[in-house]
Symmetry: C2
Subunit: 206 residues, 2 copies
DNA sequence: GTCTATACACTGATAGAC
DNA sequence: GTCTATCAGTGTATAGAC
């Protein structure tokens, strides 16, 4: 993008992505990033001459390209929708959290209009569109408008992200267990019989 | 809390809540708030002597008290779980967006430890606990650990918030329609037959 | 490639006039 | 109650030494 790629530059981008993902654009200063790299703030400008905004945009573009690839691969390797969603969730859980809502509502307004447009495009392509493709067949079969697949994609993304950031205190189960549970609910319904317990009679207690 | 309550002070708190809700703690400056009130930045200190952090904490505490009241009322006035969730979603849609993830991950770390603890407590009480109570009976009937109700509460909150911030471009349906659809999916399951309400062929509604 | 030094703008906060 | 004036602290960015 700018300047050739070097291992040192790679470290800068990775560190920046981690911090931006954790704390958001405004909360992370160039000094924070430099400190994490045991460098001085001014030295960052050698690797990223464009400054903070250019660094953020490049980091997010990279992240979105990676997510697009990762999600599509995850989805392609599973047979049924449940497996696709589980694979997609595992990919998301293994990556630095995205915090889609914060990105859209808080971080994006801080960058230039041109950068915003490009980032929105990449983000939609990588996350929403990829997930919506998973939901498209069932939405079609239910004879619902295609836009419903987009809602479902957004909702699925929101749920998985919540699992990432929910206080791990509750239950103490692995996050994959939590997310698989929520996927089962999504597909089978909360009011219907649970999968494993389908044979157990439901009787009132106490 | 500090100083008596006046109409002018009320305006300060309302404006601050709107801006904090839209842009987050770090992105909003005291000058932004003062400008929106057509005041000078220094004048805010008359109404909120504690400064920015105290203002933020008081604003969020107020918001959480209001949400607790509003959600409990919404939940209490409906009979079945579907109605309760619809009422809760309508309350949330009518209020300034919370952006729970941003609040927890980005805004909270910027305030003092003591304030953080208090805010986490209020937020959990007002949002998670209230919604978890709605899910508790069905979780019980499904013979699942109580912690599942907390997952479901977090997931539900995340989904409703996503609906708030999703580009309104998609579909163009009212947000209540979108959220009711997602509630039906949650309860009935995506793989099962659409509920009678969702089953209606897609036609113009008024 | 990384450093020091520094310019410049912005932000939160205080003091005091009216 | 609101203002002007001001300051200390912080953040981005640039210039130039090594």
């Amino acid at each position: 993008m700018s300047i050739e790629n070097s291992a040192a530059r790679e470290r800068v981008l990775e560190t920046a992505e981690r911090l931006f993902s954790e704390q958001g654009y405004a909360a992370v200063t160039l000094r924070d990033i430099a400190d994490a790299l045991k460098m001085k703030q001014a030295s960052l400008y050698y690797h990223v001459p464009g400054g903070k905004e250019a660094l953020y945009v490049e980091v997010m573009q990279r992240a979105m390209a990676r997510h697009r690839e990762g999600l599509q691969t995850a989805v392609a390797t599973a047979q049924d929708m449940r497996g696709q969603l589980q694979a997609a969730a595992r990919w998301l859980l293994a990556q630095p959290a995205i915090n889609y809502g914060r990105m859209m509502q808080t971080d994006m307004p801080a960058v230039s209009e041109a950068h915003q447009a490009a980032l929105r495009q990449s983000t939609h392509q990588a996350l929403i569109a990829t997930l919506a493709a998973v939901f498209a067949p069932i939405v079609e079969r239910r004879r619902e408008p295609r836009s419903r697949a987009v809602y479902l994609a957004g909702a699925f993304l929101a749920v998985v992200e919540t699992v990432v950031q929910l206080p791990a205190a509750f239950g103490g189960e692995p996050r994959t267990t939590m997310v698989d549970y929520l996927i089962d609910i999504l597909l089978d319904g909360l009011l219907n019989e649970p999968h494993e317990l389908a044979l157990q009679p439901i009787t009132k207690e106490e």
